[in-house]
């Protein structure tokens, strides 16, 4: 039913670890040679007619708990293609690399800027885990660097927010019938009802909390009318955008893509936790909300204010639950990560945001 439950914790682990490091210049502890050879074999198998490529690992982009991201150069016929390999252990059970690549390609047909998938395999035989290799897109990915670029260039934040609106309208306009079958559908009986039930189940697995209980009550009382389900990215926000001088060069990390309510994407993009202290600029710290909603509607999307707010509440609650799960993983000694331990002291931030979003009128 829901695309989220099984990967709730692992994804969160990766998010908190920060995936946006710069290349370190040395490609990780061990196995780079095997990795390069495995990727080269997969590329050769995917295109047997072409001359076999050679592959070099050039750096580690990030080493999250679920997904290791490595920069590679693919050399074929003397020309080099810069690429990024995302290695996903089967344990994480995220959208399979082939399904993820299919979603990315479908999004690209609508004009969504993406990092072109070069090869995807669900076969762990090549490098030990399934993986996706995409063309490398140059630009900023670290949220604070993007916000600095905005501060340096008047109007650039507005450009980014408007591009996000246009991009999401294009994505949401795709025919969901063409989304691969193995992409989950968060639609039964409606996206919001299904998601509220998912949150209830996750909350029930954690220590009882009046904050979560108040959140669940609010969600139950305020379900918006359902809209036609569509392909949603599931994690589009400041942090999963590659930004160059012209604006959004690519939307990356499609492993949470699913079919659901379009306003889920718009709400997630606008959560306070993705503004990185630029709190008054609701769209990722880029610009105010009207820039996003106007651009979304101008590009053919339908803005549903009640659903937007519902999803903000729901996704804030989700992130609050994720932080608790991370802290639990540390307490239960499933992880020794200091970052996960610190998540326990970040729960209050999301509790505050949630309570403020559902605050009764004074």
């Amino acid at each position: 039913m829901s695309p989220h439950p099984e990967r709730l914790a692992p994804d969160a682990v990766e998010l908190s670890a920060g995936r946006n490091g710069s290349p370190s210049g040395h490609g990780g502890p061990a196995g780079d040679a095997d990795l390069a050879a495995g990727v080269a074999r997969a590329l050769a198998d995917a295109d047997p007619a072409a001359p076999p490529p050679t592959v070099h690992v050039t750096g580690v982009a990030s080493a999250g708990a679920t997904r290791r991201t490595v920069f590679v150069d693919i050399v074929r016929d003397g020309s080099t293609t810069e690429a990024v390999a995302q290695l996903a252990p089967a344990l994480a059970r995220s959208l399979s690399p082939t399904a993820e690549a299919a979603c990315v390609r479908q999004a690209a047909t609508a004009g969504v800027p993406v990092a072109e998938p070069l090869v995807a395999t669900d076969d762990a035989g090549y490098v030990g885990v399934p993986f996706l290799v995409s063309r490398r897109v140059r630009g900023l990915t670290v949220p604070r660097q993007i916000l600095r670029a905005i501060a340096d260039r008047p109007g650039f934040g507005t450009t980014l927010a408007r591009q996000c609106g246009k991009t999401l309208a294009a994505l949401h306009g795709l025919d969901p019938a063409e989304v691969p079958d193995d992409v989950s559908r968060l639609v039964d009986p409606t996206p919001t009802v299904a998601y509220a039930e998912h949150l209830r189940l996750v909350a029930a697995s954690l220590a009882p909390s009046p904050v979560m209980a108040l959140g669940q009550r609010w969600l139950a009382r305020n379900h918006p009318e359902a809209a036609k389900p569509c392909l949603v990215h599931g994690d589009m926000r400041n942090g999963n955008l590659i930004v160059d001088d012209d604006g959004v060069a690519a939307v990356v990390d499609w492993e949470l893509a699913h079919v659901g309510d379009p306003m889920e994407d718009l709400a997630w993009l606008c959560l306070r936790c993705w503004r990185f202290r630029a709190d008054h600029l609701e769209v990722g710290g880029f610009a105010s909300l009207t820039e996003l909603s106007d651009a979304y509607e101008e590009a053919g999307g339908t803005w549903r204010a009640d659903a937007f707010h519902w999803w903000k509440v729901a996704r804030t609650m989700w992130w609050c639950l994720v932080l608790q799960l991370q802290a639990e993983a540390f307490v239960a000694s499933m992880s020794s990560s200091l970052v996960l331990a610190a998540s326990g002291r970040r729960v209050a931030e999301m509790e505050y945001d949630l309570l403020m979003l559902i605050r009764p009128d004074d």
């Binding site: 670890a17 920060g18 490091g21 710069s22 370190s24 580690v60 080493a63 220590a207 009882p208 909390s209 009046p210 904050v211 979560m212 209980a213 108040l214 669940q216 009550r217 305020n222 606008c270 306070r272 709190d279 008054h280 609701e282 909300l289 009640d306 707010h309 903000k312 200091l338 970052v339 331990a341 610190a342 002291r345 970040r346 209050a348 931030e349 509790e351 505050y352 945001d353 309570l355 403020m356 979003l357 559902i358 605050r359 009764p360």
Partner: protein
């Protein structure tokens, strides 16, 4: 009894050292962890100073809602159970719960992230 410096000063010194010399000498791949470590020292430092009073305040707020006393942790769980069971149903009662819970969360933020509650969401309420 321990000799000077006290625990709070020691934690502050650890945080200062992590943020200065150690961060500067650290590989970029683990700088985030160093920052988190320093921040946790400062959180614990504030917690040692503030937690006693915050906990007493939380107990008072929760006891007022539930009509009896107990440890804040127990009352917190009890209030959650009551809410899930449908108690505090009318708007006034629920408003009182919301206000009390928000005040408790604000006390947690004074330890975990001072200033975080200065943003009031005025522009983004339903």
């Amino acid at each position: 009894m321990q000799d000077s410096p006290d625990a709070a000063r020691l934690l502050g010194a650890v945080a200062d050292t992590l943020e200065a010399e150690i961060l500067a000498a650290t590989d970029p791949s683990v700088r985030h962890e160093v920052r988190v470590a320093a921040n946790l020292c400062r959180i614990v430092q504030r917690e040692m100073a503030l937690e006693g009073e915050a906990d007493r305040n939380a107990e008072g707020r929760l006891a007022a809602l539930l009509g009896h006393g107990g440890s804040s942790r127990r009352l917190w769980a009890e209030l959650a159970g009551e809410l899930e069971a449908g108690a505090f149903a009318d708007a006034g009662e629920e408003g009182a719960v919301h206000a009390a819970v928000l005040a408790i969360v604000a006390d947690k933020l004074a330890v975990a992230k001072p200033g975080y509650d200065s943003y009031d969401f005025a522009a983004e309420r339903s």
